[in-house]
């Protein structure tokens, strides 16, 4: 397509295609390893990540743009076994934004930094003319250090590995959709949170292979990226997927699939089978992991594809969504 559409930032297939095209502009010398992981390796034992945050509404049940910005970057490090240490914060604000609002976002960002021991090393601030952007955009760059002996990553995934979901999928996306389409769903909150505390105990497991922070495009997208990236099959059990009934209600009303709705505090984890039981115990021991569940396994069958087995025994293919999730009537 000649022009960019909002779906190109949606995290699904259009996004993948775009990122691929962008990466192609760099020679292999300047883009050594285009990995499909949540953070890059700055050195053998340091991770670095960059994220932009543009969500509206900027305040939503369970969080805010400020909180999201820091949690998002922390999570990109955390899933790759990197203890989050430092952060840089970029602010681009629209002329006319309430000063108090910006300070509130900073306050929420600072609170997460304090809780996780992350230091703000610097930042940048721009104010653009009214109309140049919608209110406020934040960008974060975070750096962390490897907290285990080997770098986790999908390269370590093998057939037989067990897959976990740390909580019900789609809570953030459902929360935003409810705001956008004017639906009052009592109790529906974004899952926006730092995953460091939940994931760190897993690093002690020798069989901990990899984890991914499910964001835009949802759990479905990251699972497809794993399957396609490793050319392995993933098989999920539909009955085993944790469910938030409020996300399900929203899904029913708008015709949206929870597996494709954004998360901001939910991860998929792959561990060797011998560590599966212990992994579940550790996840469930943490407040963010109380609904964690074993959802399936990695297989040599149907390589490159994620299958979802229903309680009736049929298997449906879970593909990557093409663009943004849109409400439907059909």
């Amino acid at each position: 397509m000649a022009i960019l559409q909002s779906g190109h930032g949606g995290g699904g297939r259009l996004s993948s295609e775009l990122v691929g095209a962008l990466a192609e502009r760099f020679t292999s010398r300047n883009l050594p390893s285009p990995e499909m992981e949540d953070c890059a390796l700055l050195s053998a034992n340091q991770g670095i990540t960059l994220d932009g945050f543009t969500v509206t509404p900027r305040f939503f049940p369970g969080g805010s743009l400020g909180k999201l910005a820091v949690c998002g970057s922390i999570n990109d490090l955390a899933v790759r076994g990197m203890r989050p240490e430092h952060i840089l914060l970029g602010v681009i604000a629209e002329e006319g934004l309430e000063r108090e609002e910006l300070l509130e976002h900073m306050g929420q960002a600072a609170a997460v930094c304090a809780a996780e021991g992350v230091t703000l090393l610097g930042g940048d601030t721009k104010v653009v003319p009214r109309g140049a952007l919608d209110g406020l955009f934040l960008t974060t760059c975070a750096v962390g250090s490897l907290a285990l002996s080997r770098v986790p990553g999908m390269a370590r995934m093998q057939p037989g590995d067990v897959l976990f979901l740390t909580g019900p999928p789609g809570r953030h996306g459902a929360c935003i959709a409810a705001c956008r389409y004017d639906l009052e769903i009592p109790g529906l909150e974004s899952d926006c949170a730092s995953l460091w505390g939940l994931l760190e105990p897993l690093f002690a497991l020798p069989g901990f292979r990899c984890a991914r922070d499910a964001t835009r495009g949802g759990v479905g997208t990251v699972l497809c990226e794993w399957a396609e990236g490793r050319h392995l099959g993933l098989l999920l059990e539909e009955e085993a997927l944790p469910e938030d009934s409020r996300v399900a209600s929203l899904g029913d009303l708008l015709g949206l699939e929870p597996l494709y709705l954004a998360c901001e505090g939910t991860a998929v984890v792959a561990v060797a089978p011998e560590d599966a039981e212990e992994c579940l115990k550790k996840l469930r021991a943490h407040p963010l992991g109380k609904d964690a569940a074993r959802i399936g396994y990695v297989t040599e069958e149907h390589p490159g594809t994620v299958g979802l087995r229903t309680s009736l025994g049929g298997v449906r293919v879970l593909d990557m969504p093409v663009g943004d999730p849109l409400p439907r009537i059909c």
Partner: protein
Amino acid sequence: MTSLSRAQACLGAIRERQASLKEPVLLMEVCGTHTMAIARHALKQLLPRELSLVSGPGCPVCVTHQRDLEQALALARQKGVLLATYGDMLRVPGYASSLQEEKARGASVRVVTSAMEALELARNNGAQKTVFLGIGFETTAPATAAALLRAREEKISNFFVHSLHKRVPPVLRFLASQKDIPLRGFLLPGHVATILGEAPFAFLGEEYSLASVIAGFEREEILLGIAALLGQILRKEFRVQNVYPQSVRSGGNPEARKLMDEVFRPARALWRGLGELDDSGLVLGEAYEAFDASFLVPPLSEELEEEHVQARNLCRCGDILLGRLAPRECPLFGSSCTPVHPLGPCMVSGEGSCAAAWRYEKTFKGAN
């Protein structure tokens, strides 16, 4: 009885009945929501091999012709027009663009979840013409009608409707008359039947000896419908059977039909992949002409259509929708026509025959 045990019982019954029939059976569903539910629950794989369930032209979004889409795009591009549409339509391709693309180019396009929401946009945006894209079958047309009635009552002069509504019974008749397709029965769309009732479908049994069952959308309701269809075929008793009585009354919803009759009249309509079918569309009647958006744009240029004749001619959706051809037999399948760049309705719909085949055939060989 749990949903699971009911579903399992239906599968057992389906296998028994199919075995008794001793011959291959072709059934068709004509409802996008049925197509989605069947795919979601991976039901086709569980049916006996000799039983084929084909997706017909039941997705009103997917059968919206490129020409109609181009008119909608022309409306969206007009200065002073705010186009309100259900989300389903955003990514459907016209000849060269889509509403999503026009939105990215700066057109005023808004997703709504109800026709009244579109009317509210008109009330709140006096300076703009709000054009509502009316898509859907008889389940959805009454809502558009209600919005128009209200617009007329309140004299809202900046509200318009571009009606692309279509009717199910005419396309069923078209499908039933295709003599070369060994169709034995239809799984009828439950919510269209909620509006129409049973009578408009009676001709299927009476004139064509086709089995017909009105079914719901839960997996056990769909499987019940299929089991009932096989029962009709076995007993050679062809009549409209309603296995969705909790939501469908035999007489349908007369109030909703009255709204439709007040506002719309049937007219010939163009279906993507099938061509023109008589009486198969709903256009605004004379009393509501003032709200008809088609007067806001000039008719489509012939050059635009000629430019895209080639792709149109090669698209085999018509045959795929009629069960005559398998997706992989289409020359465009997987090359110029993919889920990211779809050409025909079977690929436009996430669960259309071609989109499904594209996903399934990559890995699950042998699945229906």
